[in-house]
């Protein structure tokens, strides 16, 4: 048993080293500045995907509204960047250009970089905990939970459009620096890419440990036989809330990194459509596996960019077709291809 787990740890460390070499050494050496920042953006999506893999793949919660948490992280980071661009005591440019130049009180906490980082973790934690507990302890699940979370994403996007104090439809953009580093500088762009890569690797390791822990077994047990778990003396709602909170924090961090990398956040990045987009990569990659969601999210984002560069109106059809094919023929996602091939190969011998 112990030897086995040591072996697992060794494999995980090898994986981390491999990922680190690819992302931190190889990618910056091979890719152009433009491609590298595209990859950085995809990595932000992949962070959301890791969380969805945990909540949906292992926990059975179809989180169709992760755009809410992604948006929370993104807007909090964006507000901090706007304030630090404006300088101490300054007011963000768009408030004076299009508004009365008054800074609302709830902007103030984001003057501090440290506090912003804390809030990027704490706000989604509290929201996901409160929401999750209310929903799961009332035994709302399956499609009802999916509809609820999607409605929340829609409401959030609509709410943001109406809030001129955080940019309304345009959202927040035109950031010049990130914690004192100029964003126009290619070296700093590479630094953002490095931070995002490290965060993604850390998240995958966290989920790896969760999957192999007793909690992971419990989460799968709740997914498959929630009522039975009650008779083991656990409250299934608590088990689910924890996974939901972790997924929310990951989405929020992904959103927070998205802002300096892409340079904009607007309501169209947090609504229903992007929320579904987050999910597609996870489904295609294989939701219940460790790396399926990450690779799926990266692959889908890459395909989207390449295809829409060449065939601008084609992507939506391709995305829909891919989704249908995977759900219909490979419900476990592309990650299950390996075991499927092995099964097919073994079959003739069994007969």
């Amino acid at each position: 048993m112990i030897a086995l787990s040591r072996n697992e740890v060794a494999r995980m460390l090898m994986g981390v080293i491999l990922a680190a070499v690819i992302l931190l050494v190889l990618a910056p050496a091979v890719l152009s500045e433009f491609r590298l920042s595209l990859l950085a953006k995809f990595i932000c999506y992949a962070m959301v995907a890791v969380g969805i893999g945990l909540a949906w793949g292992k926990g059975g919660m179809l989180t169709l509204g992760q755009g809410v948490f992604f948006g929370l992280g993104a807007y909090m980071m964006a507000m901090h960047l706007k304030l630090s661009d404006a300088g101490p005591g300054g007011v963000p440019d768009f408030l004076t250009l299009y508004g009365d130049g008054q800074l609302p009180g709830w902007w103030l906490p984001f003057r501090s970089g440290g506090l912003t980082i804390v809030l990027i973790i704490v706000v989604p934690t509290l929201l996901a905990w409160g929401l999750g507990y209310a929903v799961f302890s009332r035994r709302v699940k399956g499609a009802y939970f999916a509809i609820l979370s999607q409605a929340l994403a829609a409401a959030f996007a609509i709410y943001l459009v109406g809030q001129t104090k955080i940019g309304g439809t345009n959202g927040l953009n035109g950031f010049r620096s990130f914690f004192g580093y100029r964003l126009a500088d290619p070296a700093n762009k590479q630094m953002l890419f490095t931070i995002a890569s490290v965060l993604l690797i850390v998240m995958v390791v966290v989920v790896w440990q969760l999957y192999r822990s007793r909690y992971g077994e419990l989460l799968v047990a709740v997914r498959d036989q929630e009522e039975r778990v009650r008779f083991l003396g656990y409250d299934p709602a608590q088990v689910k809330v924890f996974a939901y909170v972790v997924a929310a924090v990951m989405a929020s961090v992904g959103g927070a990194m998205f802002v300096p990398i892409v340079g904009i956040v607007s309501p169209s990045e947090v609504g229903v459509v992007p929320s579904i987009g987050f999910l597609i990569g996870v489904a295609i990659g294989g939701r219940a596996t460790l790396l399926g969601p990450v690779l799926g999210a990266l692959g889908v984002a890459y395909a989207e960019t390449t295809l829409s560069e060449n065939f601008p109106s084609f992507w939506t059809y391709f995305q829909g077709a891919l989704f249908i094919v995977v759900i219909a023929f490979l419900p476990g996602g592309l990650a299950s291809l390996g075991s499927l091939v092995r099964r097919l190969r073994r079959q003739p011998q069994e007969v």
Binding site: R214, L232, G233
Partner: protein, 259 residues
């Protein structure tokens, strides 16, 4: 009087106006192996459901000095009251060991949940021996035979450290040998615990029951030792009636087959 006991007073359970259980009183002491018998629809399973918090009830259900009514299912389990179901509901994707391990979880801290299992806890090892599945510990739950599944479920109650075991038809569908083994298992674990068995199998009841409660139409019809209950004319009437309808149904089925 012994300290650990389960006491039910004036229990009522209603489903949309249909009275499933009424005025049921039960007192079961530690060390007792109580059988709950009665014809179909007598309310046996409903009584167990009410005790474990699965269905709302009125009246009082007390374990020791704790009142169980109004508590949630998982809270009742944490007080030491465990149950099994008519169809064994183990986790088919998990191994025997993992099934037992997950059941032992209520005695762990939350933080330890985030760690990986490194060794088998002594109480799990003990339970594996008691239920006789030590050699099958790495087998998946879904691969177990019918009888083994029920034993695994009883094992899960043991590692859960349940003081009251409510077993819903544990030997249904078992072979004669499996029944015998199950009965002996119950006798082995019985002395420190309170065991309530809902059962249809009269031979099994006669071999292993220490006391019997007969339910009919949602009320207690008779209570006592096996001999006392068997000689009760009201019980005979209910069971003869039941046997008569059973015989008629079998005759009808035979007729249908002939056609």
């Amino acid at each position: 009087m012994q300290k650990d006991y389960l006491q039910v007073r004036d229990l009522h359970v209603e489903f949309d106006g249909f009275v499933a259980v009424q005025k049921v009183d039960l007192t079961i002491f530690q060390g007792d192996l109580r059988f709950l018998i009665g014809p179909n629809g007598a309310g046996k399973t409903t009584v167990v459901d009410a005790i474990t918090g699965l269905v709302p009830s009125t009246g009082s259900i007390e374990y020791g000095s704790t009142r169980l009514n109004q508590l949630k299912v998982h809270q009742i389990v944490r007080l030491g009251i465990g149950r099994t179901f008519q169809t064994a509901s183990i986790f088919e994707q998990l191994t025997v060991l993992q099934n037992l391990d997950i059941a032992a979880g209520i005695h762990r801290t939350r933080r330890s949940l985030l760690r990986t299992r490194r060794e088998t806890a002594p109480q799990i090892e003990e339970a594996l021996e008691i239920i006789g599945l030590a050699d099958l510990r790495d087998r998946k739950g879904g691969e177990l035979a019918h009888g083994q599944r029920q034993w695994l479920e009883i094992g899960m109650l043991l590692v859960q450290d349940a003081k009251v075991l409510l077993l819903d038809e544990p030997v249904a569908g078992m072979s004669h040998d499996e029944r015998q083994a199950t009965g002996e298992l119950l006798q082995r674990i019985g002395p420190d615990r309170t065991i309530v068995v809902v059962e249809h199998d009269m031979d099994f009841m006669r071999s292993f029951a220490q006391s019997v409660t007969v339910l009919a139409q949602g009320s207690v019809l008779s209570e006592g030792t096996v001999a006392e209950v068997q000689s009760d004319p009201r019980v005979q009437e209910v069971y003869l009636g039941h046997a008569a309808t059973e015989a008629a149904r079998q005759a009808m089925a035979a007729d249908k087959e002939a056609i």
